[in-house]
Symmetry: C2
Subunit: 112 residues, 2 copies
């Protein structure tokens, strides 16, 4: 039960983090290389403070990890954090398939 709740939390945190375009953009940047807050902010027009807030949300969603290096904070993507989201989506694959199967059946048994 505790695990279930933790999973739901991860799921919500991840979905929440992904719901903002700027945060998805940040993830794409970080997929190229890990970056400090300043480096990430250089790609946007908003202030460093705003970028930092987005990074916090991404960290809460476990989509990135933050590593202190001297006075810098290096942000690194954590692809594993996307797993709960991918898993949730996977549930609906069967409806995809189901619909495709129904279509296939309809074609094969078409009485024309």
């Amino acid at each position: 039960m505790i695990q279930v709740q933790a999973q739901e939390t991860d799921l919500q945190g991840a979905f929440r983090a992904l719901s903002d375009p700027s945060r998805r953009q940040i993830l794409l940047h970080l997929s190229r290389r890990e970056m400090t807050i300043g480096e990430v902010a250089a790609h946007f027009q908003m202030t460093r403070a705003a970028v930092k807030k987005h990074l916090t949300v991404l960290e809460e969603g476990r989509l990135i990890s933050v590593h202190v290096r001297g006075r810098e904070r290096v942000n690194r993507i954590e692809p594993a954090g996307l797993a709960p989201v991918a898993d949730w989506l996977a549930y609906f694959d069967r409806f995809w398939d189901q619909r495709l199967d129904a279509l296939k059946d309809a074609v094969e048994t078409d009485p024309r």
Copy 2:
């Protein structure tokens, strides 16, 4: 360019719709069978009006379609609407793999 924008719109609409737990729950209900607003609302404590707002957001994200049947409105899941989200996630699969490959290499070339 128009297509790109349309895709981005779809992506944002879908991610937006999925960011709320109630809306994800609604999708799960609708994956069992199509339902009217009232039927969906019966599964929740919030008012019909609130459920209807959620359904509107889901429709805007193209995750459901709505079909008028007399004075009822039947809500049907549209699994295809999840495709943009799945595609977006798929981009990160390579980083997943990359990291696994790096781990594999590290193990295989371990000088111990």
